[in-house]
């Protein structure tokens, strides 16, 4: 009897959910599903908002180095009504964008994946502004450095016969408009020759020193994309010097 009682109690103890509760349970489950879904929505929303706000803050607070930012922009009734004030304001904002070279390079990489056969142009920081260096130009740059090096060495061998120390200055005008900055090449050979080429925007100075000691250091500083015209222009420059 006891056992039966216990059994019957057990049966009674088992919770039978009323119909209303079952419905509310389902609704609760639905609400929890919706809530979980809304979490993903919030993650999506905030991650996008953060990207926009960070980009906005970076572009407003930081400015690109070595770029002209200041534009004379007085706020007067005349400049405001003519629209010049806001035009200049927009211009100065665009000009002061930070990391211009990096952004240009990133865009180049992005356009590279637009299709087949795209070439990536590299943008390099330079005092004068943005400079494009294509793959071809880099190749030219290398060839140019080699040529200069060889010329410097040839000059040395010609001058080796004469025992006196000789210094020649040659000024050449850079023909190309785009200048890719200076590049330093150090080479050590057995001969005692020091060739030094320094390039500025307009002139190139080549200094060759011939010494007796056994080791030679060649220092060539050349703008890679500049072609050196040792023909007419050198003659002209020599005339000028004279």
């Amino acid at each position: 009897m006891k056992e039966e009682k216990v059994n019957s109690e057990k049966i009674i103890d088992e919770y039978i959910m009323p119909a209303d509760c079952e419905k509310s349970e389902q609704e609760l489950e639905q609400i929890s599903i919706e809530e979980r879904k809304s979490h993903y929505t919030i993650i999506n929303f905030f991650s996008l908002v953060i990207i926009i706000l960070v980009a906005a803050a970076v572009f407003m607070l930081l400015t690109g180095e070595k770029r002209p930012v200041k534009i004379d922009n007085p706020l007067t009734l005349k400049t405001f009504l003519s629209g010049e004030y806001v035009k200049n304001l927009q211009e100065s904002y665009v000009k002061s964008l930070p990391y211009p070279y990096e952004l240009k390079n990133a865009n180049e990489k992005l356009t590279y994946i637009y299709g087949i056969g795209n070439k990536v142009e590299k943008f390099k920081d330079d005092n004068d502004g943005l400079v494009i260096i294509s793959d071809e130009e880099i190749e030219k740059e290398k060839i140019s450095i080699k040529k200069n090096e060889e010329k410097a060495l040839n000059n040395d061998s010609d001058e080796q016969d004469s025992e006196a120390e000789e210094t020649t200055k040659k000024k050449t005008t850079a023909k190309k408009k785009t200048e890719t900055g200076s590049q330093r090449v150090n080479t050590t050979t057995r001969r005692t020759t020091t060739a030094e080429t320094t390039t500025t925007d307009e002139t190139t100075t080549l200094t060759t020193t011939n010494n007796n000691p056994p080791n030679v250091t060649i220092k060539i500083t050349v703008p890679p994309s500049i072609t050196y015209d040792y023909g007419d222009s050198v003659a002209e420059n020599d005339e000028e010097e004279n």
Binding site: Y93, V94, K104
Partner: protein
């Protein structure tokens, strides 16, 4: 200032949205919206603000006058005609480049300025027209009307939202995280369409429309049509998204291209609200005036897109095509096999609208003849070949986006997968978030890079 301007996208927009959160009252939100809109339009041209105020005041006065006279039983069609004339004058005044100071980095302003002003004047006219028809009451509070007229997200590509639909949101609106998220996502998708896909298609289109080769003639026109579609769709998405962020809700102004005729399948798909409004005007007219009104409105729409004789002529032809489809082809189009409908719709659309990108009648003729290989130098020119190859992946994505059946199937499949469990929904959400974030970063890079001058 347009949506793709860096200053708008990364300065004005975040500031405006953050400012509008400072107070919960709708009046305050409206004020911030009006100020932002005036800043966007007056950027460089404060005169535009005066014109905006004047037109809003004119619409307000005329609508009030119509309502008052209607109650007294006086005929009110004259003020309606006066309003239409005022709007036409405003249209030509605005399109004389009063609104914008200089070209944007992508050169979209030329394409958008006329369209934007067209939607602006039509929105104003629709308000007066609805008051005239007795569908809505004339607004007493001019600031509510100013919010409706000036809200900048209605401006570049419409839609012609009706005041009756917007009034509840102007008076009271609430914001939720879901609606804001939806808005932001749509803004980014629109940005992607406008700054990544549209310029690529224009590049290929420009190469093709040199009219040197047969394939160029075909691909050039297709790509230019694609450029127009993606530019419009992109700006529609951005407008819709921005409106959602500010708490407004309306139907998008474009839909997927269809095959049910030139008018229903192509023309109406790019400007639903505009053509629905015109249909309403035509339906209100007596039967005998309807056909002539169709021709007038289609020619007027064409001239509003671009003030040239070529557009006017194409507008007339489009009007005739619409009449033909509405009267003779209506039932046949329903029973026709899909592939015949497809060929009919897109062949006519291609020949008609492909010519819009040719510079004048002479070039249109040259392009048309070039489609059949007459007067072409080559079969495929080097410039077209490389323009296509260099951007082939973007072109494939664009084609997949235009193919509505494929797109719908993909959406249905992902929705079904997401419905299976919350985990699936979460996985898809995270993938979507990552892709959208990448798209946003790509857009920022493209816009910034386009703005940096060498």
């Amino acid at each position: 200032m347009v949506y793709t301007d860096l200053l708008f996208f990364l300065c004005v927009l975040p500031f405006s949205v953050l400012l509008s959160f400072l107070d919960r009252s709708t009046e305050y939100k409206n004020l911030i919206l009006i100020l932002t809109s005036l800043l966007v339009f007056s950027w460089g041209k404060p005169f535009a603000v005066c014109l905006l105020f004047l037109t809003t005041a004119a619409e307000w006065i005329i609508a009030r006058w119509i309502e008052k006279n209607k109650e007294n039983g006086v005929k009110t069609s004259v003020p309606l005609i006066v309003d239409a004339i005022i709007n036409l004058i405003v249209f030509f005044a605005f399109t004389s480049k009063f609104l914008y100071i200089n070209e944007d980095a992508f050169g979209f302003l030329k394409a958008l300025s006329s369209v934007g002003v067209m939607f602006y004047v039509l929105r104003g006219f629709s308000y007066v027209y609805d008051v005239y028809k007795g569908k809505i009451k004339a607004e007493k509070n001019i600031f509510c009307l100013l919010t409706y007229m000036c809200a900048y997200f209605f401006m570049p590509v419409g839609p012609v939202v009706r005041y009756g639909d917007m009034e509840p949101s102007i008076r009271k609106r609430s914001l939720t995280a879901t609606s804001m998220n939806e808005g932001l996502n749509n803004f980014i998708y629109g940005l992607g369409k406008s700054v990544i896909i549209a310029p690529v298609l224009r590049k290929i289109g420009d190469a093709g429309l040199n009219l040197e080769d047969i394939i160029g003639c075909w691909t050039g026109a297709v790509c230019m049509l694609g450029f127009a579609y993606f530019l419009f769709a992109g700006f529609c998405d951005m407008s819709w998204g921005l409106a959602k962020i500010y708490g407004f809700d309306f139907k998008k102004n474009y839909r997927n291209l269809g095959v049910c005729g030139v008018y229903e399948g192509v023309i109406k798909s790019c400007g639903i609200s505009l053509y629905e409004f015109f249909e309403e005007i035509i339906a209100d007219l007596p039967q005998k005036y309807r056909k002539i009104m169709i021709i007038i409105l289609s020619a007027l729409t064409a001239i509003m897109f671009n003030q040239s004789l070529l557009f006017l002529l194409i507008g007339f032809i489009v009007g005739l095509v619409i009449i033909f489809e509405k009267t003779n082809l209506k039932e046949k189009l329903i029973t026709m096999p899909t592939w015949i409908k497809f060929i009919y719709t897109y062949l006519i659309s291609f020949v008609l609208f492909g010519g819009l990108f040719c510079d004048g009648f002479k070039n249109w003729g040259k392009w048309f003849v070039g489609l059949f290989g007459i007067s072409n130098k080559y079969t495929l020119s080097v410039s077209v070949k490389y323009a296509m190859l260099n951007n082939i992946f973007v072109v494939i994505i664009a084609v997949l986006m235009i193919l509505a059946p494929l797109k719908n199937k993909l959406i249905q499949k992902t929705e079904r997968y997401a419905e299976k469990s919350v985990d699936n929904y979460g996985k898809l959400s995270i993938i979507k978030t990552i892709l959208t974030a990448l798209l946003l970063i790509a857009c920022i890079i493209v816009i910034t890079s386009a703005n940096i001058q060498i």
